[in-house]
Amino acid sequence: MSDPACWFRTGTGCARQILIIEPLFEEANRTRRMIAQMMRMLEAQGIGATIVDLPGTGESLTGVADVRLTDWAVAVGSAIAATGASRIAAFRGGSLLGGGDVPTWRFAPETGGRIVRDLRRVRASGRSETYAGHVLTDAFLADLEAAPIPVPAKVRTVRLSADAAPADAKVDGAPLWRRAEPGEDAALSKALAADLAQWIDRCAAL
């Protein structure tokens, strides 16, 4: 597990805590601002949030070439225990982790197969040996390709309006994770934070 002192956290004093699992690889960089905006909005509503550092990414000191997908599932479990989070908010490929008994809200979940396809396409277009700068092993990619999206006992799925896949709710906005210069979409961050906060409230009431 990475050093908890390095984790990006907001609202550490709040009674309610959630764990955030970001999109994978380059998509995490492109959505970091959106997620940070959401975390601050949640904090204003009394909900603390922590971004889990997956081994080989973020502030982790492990090389991503040494990582298997099971290491990420372990990291998520450890971070839930360490932060006392009672809910997970997972984005895109982050939805492949977690699951189990922890109620999960997810935004634009993506299958492992499609993520791997995307990574291979990016590598081919960049004429590079790496996957947009990430050194990924065939074993890791095979893990990812075969990983099913878990079905937690309680789950809410939100997608963009333009996304044809089924969802519990749809929000307007652009897929920032596919933009080279994503900038920000404050309206999207606000809509997502509001949906997530309402869901957390509803779950607590059940």
Partner: protein, 89 residues
């Protein structure tokens, strides 16, 4: 587009706006001869990967990477023709 169940034209314009971050007005001004790859500075090789994946998602099609070449991305009209052929199966 009459007779088209999916509006491929509108879909590709909105993907260009969302992925490349260009304005709606600019995308609306594109005609079939408007140059894309090699003309639009926003559309570099990394952006091509994102563009194709997003078009796949929105139109529910699969694009074989062997089909992707400079020609099908040369103009707005060619990209539309390519996508329409995929939608038609």
């Amino acid at each position: 587009m009459s007779g088209e169940t999916v509006d491929v034209d509108a879909c590709i314009r909105s993907v260009l706006v969302d992925i490349l971050g260009i304005s709606r007005e600019r995308a609306a001004s594109f005609d079939d001869d408007t140059g894309l790859f090699g003309t639009l500075p926003e559309l570099d090789s990394m952006a091509v990967a994102s563009l194709l994946t997003e078009i796949e998602d929105r139109l529910g099609i699969m694009i074989d990477d062997d089909d992707v070449d400079g020609e099908m991305l040369e103009t707005f009209g060619r990209l539309k023709d390519f996508a329409r052929a995929k939608v038609a199966g």
